[in-house]
């Protein structure tokens, strides 16, 4: 099937060939990723919002600037084996790239991509997706979803796009009732393996209670070294920087790169910086995901993929931070909000 898709799409699969596990072009042979089935270190967002991308080129012609847009439509791509948390993350950041002004770079890639999901059967200790409203084997924001049921993969069609890529596929047979049962059992067992939990109930009420509690945030952020790895590897972090490069002949290009709210320079202005202090930057990260983004788009911008916990050099843990929030019974929260 992958070979069939390869004719139409650039097929990307989870791979560690470059040293870091990420989505890479399938070599046409290796299928080890089917057995490994663990989440990549670099999230698939990189296939829509690359770490660095050229926005346009420019050159000087007879003393006058000519802006050269990057060439047309991006190639059609198929991401195979994307986990539900990462697919959900793409669904979440779609909203900001569609909001008000279309972001052509992101959206044209998104349009040209098919997502083939793979149910996650061995979540990490650091995973907590079940607290964010879905399970590791749920078909969220994918075009088709695969679940390993022992000697076969059960395919769930989710979207029209997904139906399209299955049309005429060889070796696909109708699932039996037994297959369905096995899939349900696999889903249940995957759900049960996600042992880490956060309490998202009333979180929009509880977060404001500590917003102005500087001591709380200083303690929470004390060990953070502002390295930014949690942002760069977060599947829902989308902030970017824009920079120019120029050659001696006056031609050049504008690029955008992943940026990070953990860096003081991110918000620094000539005369002042609203988030010069580290505790403000850590607070921004937590609030953006759990309060500000939900206020704008009605969804928490975290999928519990656990990368920020696994990859942090100083073991900073967002689930610990969230667990320290005051319980704040609804009555109390309102009182405090009123008082402030």
């Amino acid at each position: 099937m992958l070979e069939k898709w390869q004719k139409e799409f650039a097929v990307f699969v989870p791979s560690k060939a470059s040293g870091v596990s990420q989505m890479e072009v399938w070599d046409g042979q290796d299928t080890a990723f089917l057995d490994r089935n663990r989440n990549t270190a670099v999230p698939p967002k990189a296939k829509f919002l690359p770490g660095m991308e050229k926005m346009f080129g420019f050159r000087k012609e007879e003393g006058s600037y000519v802006v050269e847009p990057t060439d047309g439509e991006p190639p059609k791509q198929l991401l195979f084996g994307i986990h539900p948390c990462d697919a959900r993350a793409i669904g979440i950041i779609d909203m900001v790239f569609k909001d008000a002004y279309d972001d052509k770079y992101y959206l044209s890639r998104r349009e040209n991509t098919v997502l083939v999901g793979m149910a996650c059967t061995s979540p990490y200790d650091s995973c907590f997706c079940t607290s964010l409203g879905f399970g590791p084997a749920d078909a969220t924001d994918v075009d088709i979803m695969l679940i390993d049921i022992g000697d076969a993969l059960l395919i769930e069609e989710v979207t029209e796009k997904g139906r399209g890529i299955l049309a005429g596929a060889k070796g696909v047979i109708e699932a039996t009732e037994k297959d369905e049962k096995e899939a349900a059992a696999a889903r249940e067992s995957a759900n049960a393996k996600v042992s880490r939990k956060i309490d998202t109930a009333e979180i929009s009420r509880r977060l404001p209670l500590v917003f102005n509690d500087r001591e709380f945030w200083e303690e929470v952020s004390a060990k953070c070294v502002s390295c930014g790895i949690c942002t760069f590897l977060c599947p829902t972090c989308y902030c970017f920087d824009i920079n120019d490069e120029m050659l001696q002949d006056g031609s050049g290009a504008r690029y955008r790169n992943w940026d990070c709210c953990s860096f003081a320079i991110y918000t620094r202005m000539p005369a002042e910086n609203p988030r010069e202090e580290k505790w403000r930057r850590v607070r921004q990260k937590v609030y953006h995901k759990y309060l500000f983004y939900p206020e704008l788009f009605n969804v928490i911008a975290c999928t519990g993929c656990g990368r920020c916990i696994r990859q942090c050099p100083v073991n900073w843990d967002i689930t610990q931070t969230l667990s320290k929030l005051p319980a704040g019974s609804p009555g109390k929260a309102e009182e405090k909000q009123k008082a402030s």
């Binding site: 802006v67 900001v96 917003f211 970017f240 920087d241 006056g250 940026d259 609203p274 500000f292 704008l296």
Partner: protein, 290 residues
């Protein structure tokens, strides 16, 4: 009609890929102060030159191609269509590069972005316009806009201050507003200076002295954050309600369209929801990072 309504008003929206800059030519450069220049520019594309509109208070992203982009308001008035103007203090990489450009050089422009001063809300009211330093740039767009539609407004009070006489921007405008009998103009500098016969004192203190009436008035205050922080309480003492006080906020920006992330104050994005806010809105922000 409250100020928050204006963000939904129909306005010129850049088409196509909003990240692509339009090339414009600098037609004239005015030296405002040793550190500030005003650039008069026009789009190269005739059709865009014809169709482009904006509103007082909106901003653009200006490029020196190869160096980068920076954010400034459009300091000219939409009522004067000969050219567009921006007024730039030399503070960073891009602004230094801009200052090195001469007349005839080309820049990139994206915009207009952001909301604008609530002209509908201000119509029929007395205007109290308070500015400090280069903060006069966004207000200047509004002032010429109001003067070109003079009949739509009541009295116009302008209070403008700078550190020294040499730091006053738009001296040519100040002169013509002083001559305009329909404008009550007050200029001040922070400290005594040789050959300066005008007012001496900080903008908030001078505002208190001028004591504009709050009745049927709206105050618009633009300048350094410290000036704004001290001017609002003075206006409150004079009877202005928070809804009657308007300002513009400044943040580091890159995209200008609410995507790149950095200009937020809580769930407010200054580029998308601002830069014009009433004090009523500001004091209700969930965050103090403004």
């Amino acid at each position: 009609m409250t100020i928050s309504d204006i963000s939904h008003r129909k306005r010129y929206l850049p088409e196509g890929n909003v990240y692509l800059p339009h090339i414009a030519v600098i037609e004239k450069i005015i030296y405002e102060t040793p550190n500030v220049k005003t650039f008069h520019f026009n789009f190269k594309d005739e059709k865009l030159k014809e169709e482009f509109t904006f509103e007082s208070g909106q901003f653009g992203e200006y490029s020196v191609l190869g160096i980068g982009e920076a954010t400034f308001c459009i300091s000219s008035s939409p009522t004067r269509r000969d050219n567009l103007e921006c007024t730039v203090a030399r503070v960073g990489k891009v602004t230094n590069a801009l200052h090195r450009l001469g007349e005839g050089a080309e820049i990139g422009f994206r915009g207009p972005f952001g909301n604008s001063f609530p002209l509908d809300y201000m119509a029929g009211k007395n205007l109290v316009l308070v500015a400090g330093g280069i903060g006069l740039a966004p207000l200047r767009s509004l002032i010429w806009n109001a003067l070109d539609n003079r009949a739509q407004y009541g009295s116009i009070d302008i209070i403008y201050g700078a550190r020294t006489p040499g730091d006053l921007c738009f001296k040519y405008d100040l002169e013509s507003w002083e001559k305009d009998s329909s404008v009550n103009m007050t200029t001040t500098v922070d400290r005594e200076a040789p050959d300066w016969q005008g007012n001496v004192g900080f903008v908030p203190a001078i505002t208190e002295k001028v004591a504009p009436s709050a009745k049927n008035a709206v105050a618009i205050v633009c300048g350094p954050p410290i000036m704004i922080r001290f001017t609002f309480p003075v206006l409150e003492k004079l009877g202005f309600t928070p809804a009657q006080m308007i300002t513009t906020l400044e943040k580091r920006m890159k995209c200008g369209i609410g995507k790149c992330g950095r200009c937020n104050i809580g769930d407010i994005y200054v580029c998308r929801d601002g830069p014009v806010f009433s004090y009523e809105q500001i004091r209700n922000f969930s965050s103090d990072e403004y």
